[in-house]
Symmetry: C2
Subunit: 193 residues, 2 copies
DNA sequence: TTTGCTTTTGAACACTTGTTCATTAATCTT
DNA sequence: AAGATTAATGAACAAGTGTTCAAAAGCAAA
């Protein structure tokens, strides 16, 4: 179907999502009103409802979009467990460093999701964790890694890597390459047999 | 001065703080109303203002109380860097596992603090991080540890340890002793020369 | 220029928000 | 029992909440 007539929908829609993303990340879902989002877009509050059925969906769509992209981008397996782990560490840090607002929301606003929406996001997160755990298990099986409990190892590594987002600034003392190098050094030593 | 007369203040006061703690942790500062806190205490909203000048102070006092206790409890230095590090890891996991609500608030509600309050909490957190960094530096100096950048090492370890709170449940598969043991294993290997 | 469709406005709805305060109730001291 | 002091109520305030919808405005094709 041809583009609808008289439409700014393809312009305003993305602007609504991006304003919501920025404001939610800065102030928190509960503290950001629909009118504040509308003001940021330059429109009246009522107009937002052409682009989202309600505020909750706005949050959920941002989170699901982020998790979908994360799962699509995570490197597929290939090479030794150590190679795979290195690739995963570098990927995780870089992907998250590129999307500070999305990451912040995905971690902080889980409790503001309805139960069904929460379950869906939680499932996607679990699927991502499973990618890392599969690598750890392969390494343990091959004898390259010494990890007592791969589930704990997975969560520990992800928490450590995601923590980069709380302090890393592009203009800061260290380049992302240097950060990736040191985190990889720590992760490698932590899991190696 | 003697205890004030006609007073339930010493009963209601702690109940207000504990209700606020639990509700803030569950729903988030912005999403919890003063009336909701009052209902939990079994009192009308106006009565809360006998115990806090405003909602912001309620949050801030909870956070500062938590950080003060954290800094008072963190083990003082003694023994080799490796011993000190082990003690720190065990302390951090256990202290945080005992206070899930306080920890959750201290990490999630920073953005809801006024600028001055934020600066104070941030200073306390920095002081805590400095305790760990001092241990890492001592270990690097003595040649026991191989950590390229002790600041990064500090933040990485703390993020990893604090992550325990997102999944650990007392009734779960693993005892806290087992959790501490595995995290210590990973941290030790990660920093060792 | 008229017709048909999309997008936006702006007002309205029914509630909830943090906070204040005069009034009432409860307790302790004398 | 009387007086003093504190705590709690409950109503009020002004402002803000998410959401709906008839009406107006904008635009493209006929």
């Amino acid at each position: 179907m041809a583009r609808t007539t008289g439409s700014h929908s393809d312009i305003t829609g993305p602007r609504v999502r991006s304003a919501a993303l920025r404001l939610f990340a800065r102030g928190g879902y509960a503290a950001v009103s629909m009118r504040a989002i509308a003001r940021e877009v330059g429109v009246q509050a009522g107009a937002l409802y052409n682009y989202t059925p309600d505020k909750q969906s706005l949050l959920f769509d941002l989170m699901r979009g982020h998790m979908d992209e994360l799962l699509e981008s995570v490197p597929k397996r290939g090479g030794t467990p150590l190679d795979q782990l290195q690739e995963f560490v570098a990927f995780h840090i870089r992907f998250h460093a590129d999307r500070p607002d999305e990451v912040f929301i995905a971690y902080m606003e889980l409790r503001n999701l309805s139960p069904e929406n929460f379950a869906e996001i939680e499932g996607l997160r679990r699927a991502y964790e499973d990618r890392l755990e599969a690598i750890l298990r392969a390494g343990v099986k091959s004898g390259d890694f010494a990890v007592a409990d791969t589930k704990i190892g997975t969560l520990a590594i992800i928490a450590m890597l995601t923590g980069v987002n709380t302090w890393f600034r592009r203009e800061g003392r260290l380049s992302l390459d240097e950060v990736v190098a040191q985190y990889w050094d720590m992760v490698r030593k932590a899991v190696l047999a």
